[in-house]
Symmetry: C2
Subunit: 441 residues, 2 copies
């Protein structure tokens, strides 16, 4: 499947903030707009990308070539007439597209939600002509935007900046190669919107709402800020625990936003999180519960950053998930062992041994009861769907480390161990005897 | 897909051992031959089974009706002429088969390897006419057997008991509904073999070797014994550990063979194995390492029986696998905790706490490092393929419980804990840092 990326323009409005570089090279959270786009294309099975360059074409080509993305074949077309506008750039790209071929056309200076590209790819496969629009753009931003109007059948009726409409074109559309006939017959056309409008008269084009997917046209510094926030917000998933979603993420997303521009690998962050949990264990051992608790919570927060960085910079790997998971287990062990030694000074060692073992076992069981389900039933264990009221128990890692944090800060280390021991084993046994038993997948 | 089962005969040769019941009701490891066949059919997607009965037809129908097998539609056809032989029984079944339909024909008094039925089902789908044969039958058993000869193209040339051939018919073939034309035209034919032989003249039938699959024609008490052994041997899988394969299975298969005829659920056996590991932990706690070690090993052996019974009696379930796995973890914890308490009398409690925690963590890690792989990579962790030389380390559950057994019997409980702690964590870290890292699935 082919995608055409228009990257020939100058993006003059950003000039003062971004020097003289083309806008598609603008880095957001450690990746330039066009690199991000190529990664999203790759994840969605687009294997041929035609990039039309103009302004500073060598620089764009250089920057992209320095980051290999396997499985994507890139064709660069330099549009010498780039100053004439996007219509001429599309025309240049059409030499690589067959007349009966459907293709994706996107602007290189926009940010797109991977879900939006995924939806578009599916519609290319279904051979639909489409323009994506957004009807939720703020009134004060409507003025300069390219807008569309739609007829009663949901087809494009008109396109233009002057239209009285709140349906804003998102700069992503699906066209067909036969649009080149129109280009050949109307040499005096200047605007891409004009071309598409004429094309839509003969071949009706469907207007498709972007729905819950995000996108962002990047013209100003405020747009950059907003784009960054949209990416960061998309990292909070529904399947994570209460503490993680409502507390840890507020901090970890800030950290991610800060370190994304550095060249730090997700596995290095997993390892740092592990080291901090070892430090927490050591602090408990050396009778410093306050800082030990804080270190445990810090480790929990940083445990979120590795995954965030991996997703933001398209560095996710199965080994990364495996590595993080195994290190987390050893991190838990280190903290609980430290807590056990700390408790020995006040409690009988038999009680400590029993409770520490139970807390350790329970924290492992919390994971095993889900992973074993996954391998046995061939589908992930959905806590929100299966766990009933026990989904609110803080027995996942974010909840457990929060209990340890509280136990450390309020110097109630042994009670925290007891709570962990009861909570986690209860959860595992509840799953064994009740929730998993009744699941039919 | 349809299968025809011929269950009309009397099986007179077994009479003296089995009373007056039809041979297909002969129980082997807790399931009658015909029930086993229906289970295998169900697992391989055969949804319509035509059972031709004659001798004691009501009894057969009654016995099968008492054991519901979901997803299989059974049609009973009573062949009043059953004493005329199998040819007349097949003829009776053909009323339910269309002329252009391929179907599986099997004898109800044979034992078949599920793999053999699976292979046959695939060949029915490919619309092949086939007779399965075995060329490894002992010379002294050739005499009374139905044999085939094959031409140079691998097609059936002749069929008969008198042939000088060592290719024995296995009683499983794939035929087509148009064989009924032959039945109508040759009313005086007595033998099924004769019918098939005539059919093969016009429609060439391929002779297919059973290969590594087992089968057994059941005529004598020795055959029953041999059939039972073939099923039991098939339970030993390649993926289990050294101790399990070479030691535990010898005992667990005997237990399975003994208890298969009782109505004991696999989950009950898992629970008994768990209780014995709790007993082992308690015996360590009460300073009886000898019997504690023996109990640990016994629990390990019985831990194999649940799966054996489940497979022998077609009672496998995903919940059963889940239940067994979670109980095993708690069983391990119980034993290691007992060992830790036992060690406290001789060792410093700090050392015991550290080593016990490490041994516990390692025994969990042994599982987690495989299960997490499964969920992350979407394929099971193949120890024999990935683990290199570390596959020979006794770090799986069978190996670990054997170390505990030795530690108990020779009263070296703490050293056994130390070995467990080092071995299992080494294995997990080796997987993390070496084997999993280089796997590309």
């Amino acid at each position: 499947m082919k995608a055409v990326v228009l990257a020939a323009g100058k993006g003059s409005r950003m000039g003062k903030h971004f020097g003289r570089k083309p806008k598609c090279l603008l880095p957001i959270l450690g990746l330039s707009l066009i690199e991000r786009l190529l990664h999203i294309f790759q994840e969605n099975g687009i294997n041929e990308v035609i990039i039309v360059t103009g302004y500073q074409s060598e620089l764009i080509q250089q920057k992209i070539a320095s980051k290999q993305i396997p499985g994507i074949n890139i064709i660069y077309i330099k549009n010498e007439d780039w100053e004439k506008g996007n219509e001429s750039s599309l025309e240049a790209a059409l030499t690589e597209i067959d007349r009966d071929e459907y293709f994706l056309l996107v602007m290189s200076d926009h940010l797109y939600d991977p879900h939006l590209i995924k939806e578009a790819v599916e519609k290319v496969q279904q051979k639909q002509l489409i323009i994506f629009y957004d009807d939720s753009v703020a009134r004060n931003e409507l003025e300069g935007a390219l807008k569309i109007t739609v007829d009663t059948a949901g087809k494009i009726f008109d396109i233009g900046k002057q239209l009285d409409s709140n349906l804003v074109d998102c700069g992503i559309m699906i066209l067909k190669g036969d649009i080149k006939e129109l280009c050949e017959n109307s040499k005096d056309m200047k605007e891409l919107s004009e071309l598409v409008k004429f094309y839509s008269i003969k071949h009706s084009i469907t207007a498709c709402k972007v729905g819950s997917s995000y996108w962002q046209d990047i013209d100003t510094y405020e747009n950059v800020h907003s784009a960054r926030n949209k990416i960061l917000r998309s990292l909070i998933t529904q399947k994570e625990g209460f503490i993680s979603r409502n507390f840890n993420r507020h901090i970890s997303l800030k950290l991610t936003s800060y370190i994304a521009s550095f060249n730090i690998k997700p596995n290095s962050i997993s390892f740092i999180s592990f080291l901090i949990s070892v430090l927490s264990g050591a602090l408990f051992f050396y009778k410093n519960p306050l800082w030990a608790g804080i270190a445990a919570q810090l480790s929990s927060i940083i445990d979120g950053v590795d995954g965030e960085i991996a997703r933001v910079k398209f560095l996710s790997s199965r080994y990364g998930g495996y590595f993080d998971s195994i290190l987390d287990r050893y991190g838990d062990v280190s903290i609980i062992t430290g807590m056990a030694f700390y408790s020995l000074s006040a409690e009988r060692y038999e009680a400590v041994l029993i409770i520490a073992v139970m807390a350790m076992v329970g924290s492992f069981m919390s994971m095993i009861s889900k992973e074993k389900f996954h391998s046995e039933y061939g589908a992930p264990y959905l806590q929100r769907m299966y766990d009933g009221w026990t989904q609110y128990l803080p027995s996942s890692r974010d909840g457990r480390l929060f209990i340890i944090f509280l136990g450390g800060v309020f110097n109630q280390v042994f009670p925290a161990l007891v709570i962990l021991a009861l909570l986690t084993n209860f959860q595992a046994l509840y799953r064994l005897m009740y929730t998993v038993k009744k699941i039919k997948v």
